[in-house]
């Protein structure tokens, strides 16, 4: 059976014109990004901007954490996630952040040598292995430390399973009350916390996810991922039929973060 010639292949005529216009219609740049974010793949979206290893979707949870934080902080990720030492919880090297408070802090975390070996080792995600040496993430870190020339090769690989990410989150959050906690580490903890909430929501555990999101601002005074949190709240409230709460979150997102990539969605919700 042969298909007829499509109207759009005709050179003239209103039908051809209309169909060509329809075929040219393309989604805007935000739609796919927001969908990937909602699915927990925010790192993948920004991988082309230079997050090494994030090209593999399997690496999304951990790398997404970093790039999501950069995105929601209005910063630009120009480098790659690297593990410079096997002794810190997370080392971010080469995260070029243009402007913002996070720049200096993240860079300082990246550059800081660590006092003890093997704090966290995350093996390949496909083996879903995460080893957390809690002794090595005890709160007190010396003010200055000698460089560790013979640090083992980086062991934080790009592919981290959710369970591994959770292990990192637990390790980092265990230090939240310590005043010496670096801003960069706090950011990592924030990202991990939000990713946990997101994972709960994705798993259909709405009340637990929402509960985590509700506690976010209290837990993290800087609340640098607040636009992301508000966006997730909107999503979750909408999915659970809590339209008033969704609108409240949307109003706050629009009012406080009008230039956020998520503000458009919030405005559309409020326009309904």
């Amino acid at each position: 059976m042969t298909d007829p010639e499509r109207f759009s292949q005709r050179s003239t005529g209103l039908a051809a014109e209309l169909l060509r216009a329809g075929a040219d219609d393309q989604p805007g740049p935000d739609g796919m990004q927001q969908t990937l974010v909602a699915l927990g793949f925010s790192g993948v979206v920004l991988s082309s901007a230079g997050v090494a290893g994030a090209a593999s979707v399997g690496s999304a949870p951990l790398t997404s954490a970093v790039s999501a934080s950069a995105a929601t902080s209005g910063l630009t990720t120009a480098g790659a996630i690297k593990s410079a030492s096997a002794t810190l919880v997370i080392k971010w090297v080469g995260i070029g952040l243009v402007g913002g408070v996070g720049l200096a802090s993240v860079a300082s975390v990246a550059a800081r040598p660590s006092p003890k070996p093997s704090a966290v080792v995350i093996d390949d995600a496909r083996s879903s292995t995460a080893h957390v040496n809690r002794a090595a993430v005890t709160p007190t870190l010396p003010e200055s430390r000698p460089a560790v020339a013979d640090s083992p090769a980086p062991q934080l690989v790009a592919s981290a399973a959710p369970s591994a990410l959770h292990a990192v989150a637990v390790a980092v959050e265990s230090r939240l009350t310590n005043s010496e906690l670096e801003v960069g580490e706090l950011l990592a903890a924030e990202v991990a916390y939000v990713d946990r909430a997101r994972a709960r929501l994705a798993a259909g555990q709405s009340s637990q996810g929402l509960s985590l999101l509700a506690g976010y601002e209290q837990k993290f005074r800087g609340a640098r991922l607040l636009p992301e949190v508000l966006f997730l709240q909107i999503e979750a409230y909408e999915r659970t039929g809590q339209s008033n709460e969704a609108r409240n979150a949307a109003q706050r997102l629009v009012a406080d973060f009008p230039k956020s990539p998520h503000a458009g969605r919030a405005r559309r919700l409020l326009a309904r």
Partner: protein, 184 residues
């Protein structure tokens, strides 16, 4: 459906790959099936969130057909609950299509799309779906038959009727335009 819901979760690779490969298809399909521009992103997102939950039970190579089914359901629900919004309250055409060089062409294309959507809105649903898949997504009748789970002959016959129907509507629109001095 129950079988799908109880299926094991799909891998992150597969979910992200699904979004990347088919987002534009789903978005355009939703638009041409009657979802307003301001709601299409949200509706597309709902399609993929729903699809992600059930993807584990979908055979490899059948993702597009599966997405199509989900999109039809989501689209129908969205149309019922929100209704079609023809205006863009917050996003101007210029913002959406900034790369377009010529403002006049842009406006014309936007008007053309508005007219296209109006004509498609008036078509019977079964004809509209087949028409959109053939004329806009450039699927063959065989592919359409597979997606819609109908015999190829039925797809071909619906397409024929859909094209006749569309041409008639276009002719009427053209006549109206002429009678109103060029206004669409």
């Amino acid at each position: 459906m129950d079988e799908l819901e109880s299926s094991p979760p799909a891998s992150p690779d597969r979910i992200a790959g699904l979004v990347r490969a088919h987002y534009a298809f789903v978005w355009r399909l939703l638009r041409r099936l009657g979802i307003g521009e301001g709601d299409a992103d949200d509706a597309a997102q709902r399609v993929f969130l729903t699809a992600a939950e059930r993807l584990g039970g979908v055979e490899k190579g059948r993702e597009r057909a599966f997405l199509y089914g989900v999109a039809l359901n989501v689209g129908a629900r969205a149309r019922r609950s929100v209704g079609r919004r023809r205006e863009e309250p917050f996003e101007s055409a210029g913002e959406r299509e900034a790369p377009e060089p010529n403002g006049e062409q842009l406006l014309e294309r936007r008007q053309a799309r508005a007219l296209l959507d109006r004509l498609l809105d008036e078509m019977p649903e079964d004809l509209r779906v087949v028409f959109v898949l053939f004329e806009l997504e450039e699927l063959s009748t065989r592919q359409i038959a597979e997606l819609c789970e109908i015999p190829v002959g039925t797809a071909a016959s619906r397409l024929r009727r859909a094209r006749d129907d569309f041409e008639e509507r276009v002719a009427r629109a053209e006549a109206r335009r002429r009678s109103t001095g060029g206004e669409r």
